[in-house]
């Protein structure tokens, strides 16, 4: 399987995106976060320090398979960390946002704001 390049390693473009063309903003949008489930995982973990697999599944209204695929992609990119343990006999998977993940999430928010500002100016 192709390894996803950590988007966190890309040069941060944050506030500067407001001055760039929309085409550039779209290209600069973190593709890893620009997907509903992955964006949902990052948003949920940005507000709640840790969440279990089942909590995320209920919160995002998705399936086991879907969540696990997207969570693994974020994990491989270094955006989330995952800790597996047992509570009694039941396996428990707990996710949290890493520092790189939080930075990428904040950058993504900056980009969305920049796109919005640009769209409003063009109206």
């Amino acid at each position: 399987m192709r390894r996803v390049a950590p988007a966190a390693a890309r040069p941060p473009s944050g506030r500067t995106a407001s001055r760039s063309a929309p085409a550039a903003s779209v290209r600069e949008l973190d593709r890893l976060l620009h997907e509903r489930i992955r964006l949902g995982i990052a948003s949920a973990l940005a507000a709640s320090e840790t969440l279990t697999f089942n909590e995320l599944k209920a919160l995002l209204g998705t399936t086991d398979g879907n969540l696990s695929v997207h969570a693994r992609r974020l994990e491989r990119a270094g955006y989330v960390s995952c800790q597996k343990s047992f509570r009694g006999r039941l396996p428990r998977t707990e996710y949290r946002l890493t520092a790189a993940g939080r930075r990428a999430f904040e950058r993504y928010l900056d980009h969305l704001e920049a796109v919005l500002r640009h769209a409003r100016r063009r109206r």
Binding site: P22, G40, A46, A47, T52, N54, E55, L59, L109
Partner: protein, 197 residues
């Protein structure tokens, strides 16, 4: 490569994504499974307790009635909370629920301790204001992590508790009826209408 969307379309998508982020963050950090109907039922038992306890002949009998009501209301609250949370797929062991319950627990535990201390000291007239003030504190603290109706109800309890503290001790039961009965029913109905269950 597909052509890039128009700025207006891009803006609409960005706005939609921002809304989704906000909603997800809110749902992830707040505990929304507070029961509305359960709150109304708790209020109804308190009105009954107020009616019965107003005829109590001794302080000890009055206290027993209210302690019995506290036990019944706690059981109703716990059952309704569990029912609403499991229907919504919310874990009561999850981080938002744990934080909410912890915030409630500290003022309620202090209330239990103070009740024992006040009874031992024979300060019966302080029981009603202390219960109202500490239940209000619990609702305000837990409400920070929950829907808006909860801290507002807490503020109502704090006001009633303050009024009970300043007024004649003989009105204690009436203030309890107003808080644990009236406020619980009003805010329970609000939660039921706005947030279900």
């Amino acid at each position: 490569m597909s052509p890039l969307p128009a700025p207006r379309e891009l803006g609409a998508r960005a706005l939609d994504n921002l809304r989704y982020i906000r909603e997800t963050m809110e749902r992830s950090s707040t505990f929304t499974a507070v029961p509305g109907l359960g709150g109304m039922a708790m209020g109804a038992t308190a009105l009954l307790a107020a009616l019965v306890s107003s005829r109590a002949e001794t302080n000890a009998a009055w206290l027993r009635i209210w302690l019995a009501d506290a036990a019944v209301a706690a059981a109703i609250g716990a059952w309704a909370l569990h029912r609403k949370a499991s229907r919504a797929g919310i874990s009561l062991l999850g981080a938002p629920a744990r934080r909410f319950l912890l915030a409630l627990a500290a003022p309620l535990a202090s209330g239990a301790l103070l009740t024992a201390a006040l009874v031992r000291a024979g300060q019966w007239h302080l029981l009603a204001p202390v219960w109202l003030l500490l239940y209000g504190s619990a609702a305000v603290a837990g409400g920070v992590l929950s829907v808006r109706a909860v801290p507002l109800m807490g503020a109502g309890f704090l006001l009633l508790g303050t009024a009970a503290l300043l007024s004649s001790p003989s009105r204690g039961t009436a203030y309890l009826a107003g808080g644990f009965g009236g406020l619980e029913i009003v805010f329970g109905a609000w939660i039921w209408r706005r947030h279900g269950g």
